[in-house]
Symmetry: D2
Subunit: 362 residues, 4 copies
């Protein structure tokens, strides 16, 4: 991706010679995330184009220099099936990390596929080889977990898990998930696993609504069939007029926030995890929407390594009960990455996956 | 107060004959709160005019029927100096109280001086006698506490305390208090008592700014001298560019919310306690103001009896160190209640106090 | 139950005439709890013998005087299927309730079947009729819930739920439940519903171990087959040597506490919910068992109405997935209550149920 | 310190040549901690004698190789006044750090002056020069903070702060501090700064009792004058029979734990921070001491860098109000280190400080 809106190109690069503590990954799959679409449209500030997109990937280790360990404490060896936390260089040593204790806001962190230029190396997932630096957290996939369900969850898995934990979803909660892209769908699954009594999800189109139900949503609302007012009314009807305990916004539409505050119960928790890019503003009434409701509105930014680790463990554990893998609508070879972006943008797919070694879309 | 905007009138009423478990209070002082101004202008929904304003009062017990105990567990006897939690009939038995655990949002609660009509009895503070029902929580004033510092804090004391606890102000936090009416001033005091490293307060006029400093604010910003942009810049400068840990909005102006989110640190807590009436909306950008900041925005509604109890204990304990009493700018006899409302509205006073037995403003 | 160790007798009492706000329950089932065994052996202090045992019961409303509402806000009418929170008169108005916020330790509370003498009325469950006072919290059973699965959980349901919430069991936790009486079995079920990754339970005999597995335990340890040292080793082996995240002690044996601290992970949470009576002391090493482990050891006493409400809702919701009802090993008519006590004490049954209208043990 | 109980010797070592990212500190002061006494008596397991004691120190930077930054983000330069977190190599990358989130229990960490052998380098404070590794967290002292008040708090400052935060001491709490060595005295100061209503401390001798009062304790109990039973009674009398909200055990005596559980209020929090070495066991009654009290017993192990940072900031901020420096009873040259150990053990001093450049005890 050379510049915003420019056509994507595949480029040959030399295989890097490793420094001590580095590893080279042969990429099996990397995901196409909604953020990649925003990236392509230049909607993120401070991006050092040109870059290699792809912040989540899974592959086999091709080469290791010196001693490298995964977070699980196992040595990383050639042939191992691993992934990595897309966020490199969280310092763990600054005021933000140590005192404010907001590691996802550490000013030093760098993100594979987003804040690394391709000049800096093979630091993005849409590539045959990926360089794992000395500082990037590496994770072994559990033995029983295949790459497909893992990449199906993609960054939506840890992000959805973070949102569910941030909202303190617990036994008996009624939860409303706004938006059923990969983050929303994962939030449905994790909310249910946390003991939510009822998970209601809204979005479109039909294929995503079905996927949300398959993954844990008890009920879904099609936003093309029901107006905002109808949706609010339906939520209130399903909650004896009280509103839901927890809402997870995972759609990135500012208007959803107005809808959300209208169907949150007094003292409820509202997690905004879908606004990774600036999609504009929304009118909020501090009296009615926040103070009088004694509401908690909780921004949720990024992920910590623990979210990747735990999400991965849960995907492994539920791989027989939950159809994670069905969220993949298509595998694309590197040459078709631009088509993958277009398909994601048009909501033609739930999850598009780049398979660098593939030669055609199955 | 017969109707919104109507002139206030003093009316003779018969002394009620008590039911078992009731008490009659001879009112020494009742406060004039900003809410009373809103009440007079008809800005609160569902108010059963005519009513006797005054939700906080202190007095001596004149008569008791049967056994009555204060929250402290002491029998309430004639001559005792007591106050009461203005919120009557919080049921403690409904879904909101028991499961959602949001007692300040219990649908059954009634508020002295606000949601009781004068047809229902002497259930407001601006009166010579006040009826204490079987269900209203009564509190004895600590022996060492005079009525003046207690009424000086008024409902701002427990409300400010609730906001500080809601914001989890703790050792070392930098706190910004927006608005320095009685709630904001109390928030300055309590934030400091909780170990805040630095409390910055903004508002006007000069007398209130001085009061805020006397009560605990380390620094104050005069909103008539500094624009919103300047204030944000000043806050950022005082926090090495990070923003403050906790903000307490206590001014009721929707624009303050926009200012607040701009100077909150990543992962900070923002308590909205000033929006007791609907003062309109404000444009919020979910990406910049909430998600990207990993912010917590916390509505704060009403008080629980514990807040009255604890605030009262703290006023007693700090009565020699903090000039609570100086916040009272004037005592008004019942006949001058309307003038008191006008003085509060014009910010001519910090706290106006109704003294039913007074005959002239000292 | 006339006195400790005395034979149980059935006694005829007049049907009470109701006061306003009271109701009379025709008892369908009341449970036999381990506490009842302790009660019979005089192991609880301050019990006002003679009394009618039975702190949990379910029945149909036979008579209502005046207006009575359940916690759900529905009017209580003749023929309704209801239960009640066994704890009456939690005041909600004292320092313990309001400031310390420990309602289960309110000094004013009275417990049906335990701290009410039979002189005070029909205030225990092992009776044909039960008086519901003006102050006891009443709950309607959900429409889809039969009395059998409800009484099968008995007081173990809300108690086990309280312990799981107290231990903050959450997504991915490994949980060890010590003791598989009704509290332990319910804790297995609720821990799993909260997203525990793995629940290990220990106890005996085989029937209880099987019940624990049927209700949610992933693995069980038979304490008659494995020594304490073996159990500790097995737990450590199952947790890569780290120990479990949460332990719930539900067996009442002081030695279990020593076992527990030995297999808790650093920073783990250990809930002691099984020690409702004084079973003696145990040697704890503050350095090794608490400080060095950075452990949390959490006492868990009694239940709040919310625990009954939520446990009941979850029993209703999982009635098709979890065999709550199979925990009932036998129904006993009133005349056989002493036999029920003996069967519970000898662990011959998991849960014994008193069925006042039954005439023989099915 | 060559071996347990062996006489201390001063040894000449070559000045190390620095690796990239290392710094050399010229030590001004290092503290003598109770742990050093235990170390000398061989009471800690797994200590790699011989070693250079001293886990907290302050000095000026003598030499820097490459780029080194303090936690505050400032470059570390020659002549800077700095300290360091005594805990090196907390990995931030293992299950304990990332998932269990218990960084003070990270299995990879190494402690200056305790778990580093003197064979490994100048990694202890009782030395003229100290090597700061690439991984040890370095902190600049605030400009207004002199080395004396900083070293006066020593490791007691961050440890006491950790205990106060672990006990969630907050506005209005009554707090009992058991033990008034440096940790207990710091806990008195920080509890008061957090808004504790009343801090009671127990211990001996008189000089320490006076220091505790000077630093924040409202009342002190001399353990040589009052028996355990008397102390419990006195605490109960001071809390209307309820017991205290929070207890901080900072004395290392197992019997103190029994005393503590006897005067903790129902639902109170009890932090065990004094048991850094194994001083044996104590009989605890799970029913009376934990379950029935609904108590929280919280182990508290080690410190995180944030505790050092925040404690240091608070010492700087309160340096004019609190006599931190008076806790230093004596400065000892290196040659008198053994005498310092003996004075600490005999409670002849509150805090002994090693001053490597000193030539005689002032």
């Amino acid at each position: 991706m050379e510049a915003p809106e420019a056509p994507l190109r595949t480029v040959e690069r030399p295989v890097p010679s490793l420094q001590d503590g580095e590893a080279l990954l042969s990429c099996i799959y990397s995901e196409v995330c909604g953020t990649d679409v925003h990236l392509w449209h230049g909607a993120l500030a401070g991006v050092p184009y040109p870059l290699i997109p792809g912040h989540v990937a899974v592959g086999t280790v091709e080469q290791v220099k010196g001693e490298v360990h995964s977070l699980q404490g196992r040595p990383v060896k050639e042939g191992d099936l691993v992934t990595f936390h897309d966020v490199d260089k969280t310092c763990g040593r600054c005021w933000t990390c140590l005192v404010a204790q907001q590691p996802t806001r550490c000013p030093h962190r760098k993100v594979y596929g987003i804040t690394y230029s391709s000049e800096e190396g093979l630091l993005g997932g849409w590539a045959e080889k990926i360089l794992l630096t000395q500082t990037v957290p590496i994770l072994h996939l559990p033995d029983e977990l295949d790459p497909e369900p893992f990449i199906a969850a993609g960054c939506g898995g840890p992000t959805g898990l973070h949102a569910v934990l941030r909202g303190r979803v617990s036994l008996g909660d009624k939860v409303y998930v706004q938006g059923i892209g990969p983050v929303g769908i994962a939030a449905c699954a994790f909310a249910k696993l946390c003991g939510a009594e009822k998970v209601i999800a809204s979005g479109s189109p039909a294929a995503r609504l079905k996927a949300a139900r398959d993954m844990g949503a008890d009920e879904t609302l099609d936003i093309r069939q029901h107006s905002v007012e109808e949706r609010i009314q339906m939520i209130m009807d399903k909650t004896r007029g009280f509103g839901v305990d927890v809402i997870i916004e995972a759609c990135g539409n500012p208007l959803a926030v107005k809808e959300g505050v209208s169907c949150l119960r007094d003292g409820g928790r509202y997690v905004l995890v879908g606004h990774y890019t600036d999609a504009g503003s929304v009118d909020i009434n501090p009296h009615l929407d926040i103070t009088k409701k004694h509401a908690e509105i909780l921004g949720c930014w990024g992920t910590e390594p623990k979210h990747v680790w735990q999400a991965m463990d849960w995907i492994a554990r539920t791989r027989d009960r939950l159809p994670w893998q069905k969220c993949i609508s298509g595998f694309y070879p590197l040459e078709e990455a631009e088509q993958a972006l277009r398909d994601v943008e048009a909501l033609r797919v739930i999850k598009a996956v780049i398979a660098p070694s593939a030669t055609a879309n199955p």
